[in-house]
Subunit: 642 residues, 2 copies
Amino acid sequence: MADYGGNQTAVRIGDRFWSAFRETAAREGIPYQWKALNDAVPDAAPSGCMRNFRIAAGREQGGHAGFVFQDSDAYKWLEGVAFSLRWRPDPALEAVADGAIAEIAAAQQPDGYLDTYYIINGLDKRWTNLKDHHELYCAGHMIEAAVAYYQATGKRVLLDAAIRLAAHIDSVIGPEEGKIHGYPGHPVIEMALMRLYGVTKDPMHLRLAKYFVDERGKSPLFFEEEDRRQNRRNYWADGPHGYAYYQAAQPVREQKDAVGHSVRAMYLYSGMADVARETGDESLKEACRTLWRSTARRRMYVTGAVGSTEYGEAFSFDYDLPSDTVYGETCAAIGLVFFARRMLSLETKGEYADVMERALYNGVLSGMQLDGKRFFYVNPLEVVPEACEKDPHKRHVKPERQKWFGCACCPPNLIRLLASLEDYVCSAAGDALYIHLYAGGEIRADVGGTMALSVETDYPWDGAVRVCVAEAPAGEKTLALRVPGWCRRWSLAVNGEIVTVAPEDGYVSLKRVWRAGDVVELALDMPARYVRSAPKVRENAGRVALTRGPVVYCLEEADNGAALHMVRAGGAPRAETAWRPDLLGGVVAITTAGLREKDDGWGETLYDDRPAPAAEETPLHWIPYYAWANRGVGEMRVWIRE
Amino acid sequence: MADYGGNQTAVRIGDRFWSAFRETAAREGIPYQWKALNDAVPDAAPSGCMRNFRIAAGREQGGHAGFVFQDSDAYKWLEGVAFSLRWRPDPALEAVADGAIAEIAAAQQPDGYLDTYYIINGLDKRWTNLKDHHELYCAGHMIEAAVAYYQATGKRVLLDAAIRLAAHIDSVIGPEEGKIHGYPGHPVIEMALMRLYGVTKDPMHLRLAKYFVDERGKSPLFFEEEDRRQNRRNYWADGPHGYAYYQAAQPVREQKDAVGHSVRAMYLYSGMADVARETGDESLKEACRTLWRSTARRRMYVTGAVGSTEYGEAFSFDYDLPSDTVYGETCAAIGLVFFARRMLSLETKGEYADVMERALYNGVLSGMQLDGKRFFYVNPLEVVPEACEKDPHKRHVKPERQKWFGCACCPPNLIRLLASLEDYVCSAAGDALYIHLYAGGEIRADVGGTMALSVETDYPWDGAVRVCVAEAPAGEKTLALRVPGWCRRWSLAVNGEIVTVAPEDGYVSLKRVWRAGDVVELALDMPARYVRSAPKVRENAGRVALTRGPVVYCLEEADNGAALHMVRAGGAPRAETAWRPDLLGGVVAITTAGLREKDDGWGETLYDDRPAPAAEETPLHWIPYYAWANRGVGEMRVWIRE
């Protein structure tokens, strides 16, 4: 498993909700994406990714195809494969992966360098554009894939290549005289080196990760000097971003706001948290907390999407959360899950798990079509298809998922996250086991001896969670269950007896001597309810969104007709919830008593002093937001007028 | 006066409202703009306009400065001067204008050609880029200035130059073999030639205007062929506009929607209406009506602004009227006034005058600072200064007016409109005099003999209009007064006796034998009231805007604090109106009893299932929209939640 610190845990997920997604991702998504990486999906944007490795290895002729970061698609796919092999052995798939790894390893240079863009286009130019050319980004994803594949299969080919690549980077970049005093334009290598360090315990890997974090944004600014040396102009100089696009306008400990490209931000903050956890650096921990608060308390959508503007795929400013022009890249929501998981490993606070859960069930899952074959890059909260077509400032918003992307970061990212969900369910420290996410299955954790649990739940559709102790070590141990921030009423019972205990930092802790056969039952009350935004969120003033448990709902034209702006909540939800096995792969759908304003009789004038339009009671049919756009093109809306 | 068909009229405006604006425009704006055209305004964007003419005439050395259409700024300025000289004789100003005309005339080529961009950069390239290089646009403004200056002063220097320029164009462009079968990328010459025709009665001038209208958009598309010949790519090909940016995707009689660059659209439709009026072409009249309905009934802001998107400064699609990302160029609102005035000359319907009035008092006037020295290009209906700075898709929206613009179309355009307001007040046809706009002053009109009226009113602040007959011809004549579409209750009296007469097409007609001393009193009830948008306008669902008479109001941070999104109308306006001579040059300010939501105690979370925020009654202090941004930078909002 991935190493986020703490004691060993091992999780098997086997519930209805996640198993379906994960099985789809593994069965459909992984083979589909392998085809995409090899340009075998008809009518999809071409990739050239695997061919680049063969060209770099001298096995094929041709030029480099795609973006400078094209290699990363293969690495993320491999990492997804590795994670899936942990719970879904598949010798045929493993053989394909071994083949891919062989092609990748063949492209690696004798000095350890590995980036097909420069191997093909000329090694003399390598390491001259750390800001925009993603060599460290590709290296980071390569290292992550290598660690995951090693941990899943025990095979070292890619791991050894990763260790050579890290050694090469260490020989080129660092504080020493004669080395480049730089850092990546697109973070990820920080997280990657920390995972590599978890396996190798080589101090160099930790030192290099720490260097990238500490050096970033220091004055004189490396990126500025690099631009000057290469006679380049910073593309972002004219807009509001500047070097903050790269989260490099200041040293990380001086940064107060989540800024710039939102995926880069999430990856950087995640790497910072990894380094802070390992080193215990208090100033870095505090920087992580500051950036967390900026992200989660002032710049995050109700779906866990982040990135309010298409310009730079970036954060904008506090409380600026437009639903219709949002960027909300799938990768950024995934990055927020990374960040949240790492903050949990710094300190077990429910706020982090709440956000992790919010992003997972909404802004992350929405990225994938239910059949695992099409993907969203942008995840809007309000769509009018005509506007996507005719308003140039909404053209990044698509009313339907795409087969593949020239810049294909999101699909493999989503699949590797789904395939590694085990790493997000719980953590253990000292004598305590913390359950963060409620997924049915089994948990084994070291709490000074092995504690084994089975978890039964129909979460997120039902708030009942039954935890059975299968094995417990001697002595008092703590089992801590998260009480989600969205939950107002809940009850807890041990072996059938109600236990009254106040949650602390979002977790209820049961400290006792556990015995096999003990049963803990948590019942989370999960009514459908309307939530509001903080009053400073201009775009949502006077609006509500329907949620139930961790799931955010939306209205679609398919169920409610068009002109969704004329729909109103009309007071308390008075909701009927129903499990609909036939609908969208099986969802709890919700019907509320709402209002629809009528426009009949308004006529042709545009403006008039008429009374408020008559509204008639109408049932509003809500579906989980993540499942929108699976039934053709139409309007969709999360926030409606109250 | 300008010739919009019908009988002769002569108007003198002398009321409190318009005189102030017009005097400011003439006293401050005209000299200021002359300085700007001569690069004598410190810290303002440079123009180079007049210098270009001297360079083209060989009187100075240097390159062409500014845009390809830089010449038009001088022409629009001259036209404004000409109009102002009609009611505000100023020998010193006239001498300056004569000097400018001499410089312009000196640049004209022996063959009649006149465009400094090509004279300076090489005449061999002229007429090769009708689509984007604005030679016909500049020619159009030159002709308009020439006609206006001739009509105001009787001087023919510029008029003769214009006649030579028109002859040159006729020798180069037209249906005949060997001529270019083209038309302007930016219309205006259609209107201009019709005005020239009004003076010269030269059939060629009418024929050429008609040719430009009829040829436009025909297949094979001239612009497409021109692009191909010159190996150019249409800049707008990738977006939703294509050649519709130029209103050239179809023949004008087949166009159903107001599309593309909004100023070009308004100018084209105005020229079409001119040609339709003069030729009586029914199919062209119907095309004008169709495009009018698209503009005024589906694509116009409550302020009379048009152009919903910054991309192409253009129309977008039906009912797409966002307040905060609007373009709403001052020139486009001016163009809408042109269009409306010409539709009135096709058929006297109140709808046209209603829109003309709406644009004039709101989206046009807002373009100028009250001191006449700063100007808006973009006229938003909702501004949050932080968003203008930090949201790249709102950077075209400025929270304060600018000194001058590199592309300085709006300031002189606004001044020439204000200076020619006489031409919009009334029209006469047969035995009838129609009053469209209520401005205090005097009207003389030919209704089969001269009818002379004096008009007393404090419009738009008061709805009482007193019309005194000073002179009347023998026999029955019709005096038709417009009852604005916004007016619900009104009364009419002749010589103190109430007259009951139903308005027809927005006008009440009094047909009788008039005698000097007759007094007609129209009392228009003018309460402050909230208006709504048509239900299809998504952005304004659940919102109201305050209006009083023709004036649209807004809330400013200066009077109401920031966070205006938290303000609500809270039911009927219960308004107090007050004449405030001290405020913004003298306005009727309105205070309504509204609500302000409180955010105290919400805390740091972004989303929660709380009840609607408490709202406390608060007076809302409204000012006329046109006067916003005269007291420093702050939030502004027209539409508020009900």
